[in-house]
């Protein structure tokens, strides 16, 4: 029995490793422009072999692959990995199998923070209109690796996300017995509250700001670029490291607060810092690719089904990343000549998944 389980574990593991290796190549060959897998292979090999003389004769497909598709694939991977990690850790530290950054209201808090930044401080925003463009914000056309506007969005999102976490924690009261239901309901309430505030802001914003916020809030990787990839990547990888460092403590929380305490875990501190870490991840991802829901719910549950009795954090992250890359491929290809926001696809899949979990929980 043990051997069979091990064989299954390693075969699924091998499959995932294989998928991780081939995914960038295949994913880069899908999209509006017709690019063959062989083109991708050619570009990649020339890139990896350091053959950089291609810059003069950079073909269109090569530029599309290097400047549009690769950063996009990476961003999708980072986003999927981060959201799955956040979901998995949230589910463990709150002992709530239905926890997810989206359901928990963290995403809507982050969205609200980001919308405040966009609608109040961008060039089409309320302040800019009041002061007639006195606030100079870098244009979208060329993006430097660093600018105030680039950081103000994540900071706004993080403040909003932390606010919503505090809200949920305060409303549900940590350590109660009926925590599962209370937290979920508090999350829903918080989500509505920040959703309403966001709508209020949008109502007073200019139509351009409203349109851009709407498209962005549905979630999309279309704006991915090398220059803006580092922030979410660094955030997610640092968070993964921290979570791995405290893996034993996080696991111990599963046994209940009092048990975790007797195992030498500082329960209140650990839970609060993990909640904040999850809101940091969510905020960075919301700031760079909008609201993408349910990934944090679907992936950890799938991992639990595949690898019952193990808590593989790295695998959760990798699987989440792969899932997101392919959802993004679907988003690019489903409609012939335009892109579908990924948030719509994950929400559609996720709500079905949510019902599935609810059914199987009793």
């Amino acid at each position: 029995m043990i051997n069979a389980a091990h064989t299954r574990y390693y075969s699924v593991l091998a499959l995932i490793v294989l998928a991780t290796i081939v995914t960038p190549f295949f994913a880069a060959s899908f999209g509006a422009a017709n690019i063959m897998l062989s083109d991708v292979l050619g570009v990649m090999t020339s890139l990896l072999s350091g053959n950089n003389d291609a810059s003069q004769s950079a073909s269109l497909s090569q530029r599309i692959i290097l400047e549009l598709r690769l950063p996009r694939i990476l961003l999708a991977f980072v986003a999927g990995a981060g959201l799955s990690l956040a979901g998995s850790v949230l589910q463990t530290v709150t002992r709530n199998p239905l926890a997810d950054p989206y359901l928990f209201g963290i995403s809507s808090g982050a969205s609200f923070g980001a919308v405040v930044v966009i609608s109040l401080f961008s060039q089409t925003g309320i302040f800019a209109q009041l002061f007639d463009g006195a606030l100079v914000v870098s244009s979208l056309g060329h993006q430097p690796w660093w600018s105030w506007s680039m950081l103000s969005l994540p900071v706004g999102a993080f403040i909003g996300a932390s606010l919503s976490v505090m809200f949920v924690v305060a409303l549900s009261g940590i350590g109660r017995t009926s925590q599962v239901e209370r937290m979920l309901l508090s999350g829903v309430a918080t989500s509505f509250l920040f959703g309403a505030l966001t709508s209020l802001l949008l109502y007073f914003s200019s139509p351009q700001a409203t349109a851009s916020v709407l498209f962005w809030s549905l979630g999309s990787f279309a704006k991915a670029s090398w220059s803006q990839l580092w922030l979410p990547t660094v955030t997610v990888s640092m968070s993964l490291l921290i979570m791995l460092a405290f893996k034993r403590q996080i696991m111990a929380l599963q046994a209940g607060d009092e048990s975790a305490h007797t195992l030498g875990v500082n329960v209140a501190k650990l839970r609060l810092s993990m909640l904040l870490l999850c809101s940091l991840i969510t905020a960075m991802l919301v700031a760079s690719c909008g609201g993408i829901g349910f990934v944090g719910l679907m992936i950890p549950h799938t991992v639990r089904l595949l690898f019952s009795g193990r808590q593989p954090m790295i695998l959760t992250a990798v699987l989440g990343g792969l899932f997101m890359v392919w959802i993004d491929v679907i988003a690019r290809c489903l409609l012939g000549n335009q892109e579908l926001p990924v948030g719509i696809i994950t929400a559609a899949l996720g709500s079905v998944f949510f019902l599935f979990i609810l059914r199987h929980r009793r």
């Binding site: 034993r248 046994a255 019952s308």
Partner: protein, 269 residues
């Protein structure tokens, strides 16, 4: 007199003006098994929670190995005191082995991996409680007695000097009640356990503490504590105390028929 590992002096705990624990004092000699007895609501669990610092007493002093309990870090405390709780919460998705491995938590720093030695420790703990066969099974699928034994295995892996058990024999059939307490006694570490069954407490414990309404009524060896008078005062039942044929400690036979004179009702909470 052997050295004591735990000393409690003048311990009080009040919540909202209500006194839950009043002036508790006792000490636990090394390697002994101390039984905590008393009716429901006597404050047994609260006292134990003070000892593993889950609640902070209003006043009083708890000393572990002649060091004040608040001077221990969370980890150091968990390396000294292991706890087996009364109600095991719902663990989702853990195998028995993983649950037992949790006992390593206070011994591990950041990024420390589980070593071969740790695995041997977990294996030997599982063997000691007789759960080797169930190591890979989900903890949730174990029976009540097996769950309790798994939690004891976790405590063994924690390598504590003191083991605290909060009603370890609850909901278990008599075979497991005896088995679990004998298992704990065989570990050779100092133990404090709250026990409902007075005969079991009498048979298994070196010393007993009798609590009632937060106050310490009696302490000492079973013969001194389990007298007909004290049992009738605290528990409100009449009994006869004899010598047990095997271990010569008190054996209590209860008398029945309280419904007519209604004496039992005041102790039903």
């Amino acid at each position: 007199m052997s050295e004591s590992v735990l000393d409690v002096e003048h311990l009080f705990w009040q919540v909202d003006g209500k006194t839950i624990l009043a002036d508790i004092h006792f000490s636990l000699p090394k390697g002994q098994m101390l039984g905590l007895i008393g009716p429901n609501g006597a404050g047994k669990s609260s006292l134990l929670r003070c000892l593993y610092r889950y609640i902070e007493p209003s006043s009083g002093k708890i000393t572990l190995f002649s060091k004040h309990i608040s001077n221990y870090s969370a980890k150091a405390l968990a390396r000294t005191v292991a706890v087996v709780q009364q109600d095991t919460p719902h663990y989702f998705d853990l195998t028995t082995e993983q649950l037992v491995t949790m006992g390593l938590t206070p011994h591990k720093g950041i990024f420390d991996a589980t070593t071969q030695h740790d695995r041997e420790l977990v294996d030997s703990a599982l063997t000691k409680v007789g759960l080797t066969q169930h190591a890979q099974q989900p903890y949730e699928h174990l029976s009540g007695g097996e769950k309790q034994r798994a939690l004891i295995a976790r405590a063994i892996v924690q390598q504590p000097q003191i083991l605290i058990l909060d009603e370890p024999t609850n909901h278990l059939d008599i075979r497991y009640q005896i088995q679990i307490l004998e298992l704990v006694a065989s570990l050779g570490i100092s133990v404090i356990a709250s026990i409902h069954d007075l005969n079991l407490a009498s048979a298994m414990c070196d010393k007993l503490l009798l609590l009632d309404q937060g106050k310490l009524i009696a302490k000492g060896n079973p013969t001194a504590v389990l007298t007909e008078r004290q049992i009738s005062d605290v528990f409100g039942v009449c009994c006869e105390v004899n010598q047990h044929p095997q271990h010569a400690k008190p054996l209590i036979s209860y008398f029945y028929g309280y419904q007519t004179n209604n004496r039992v009702s005041q102790h039903n909470d």
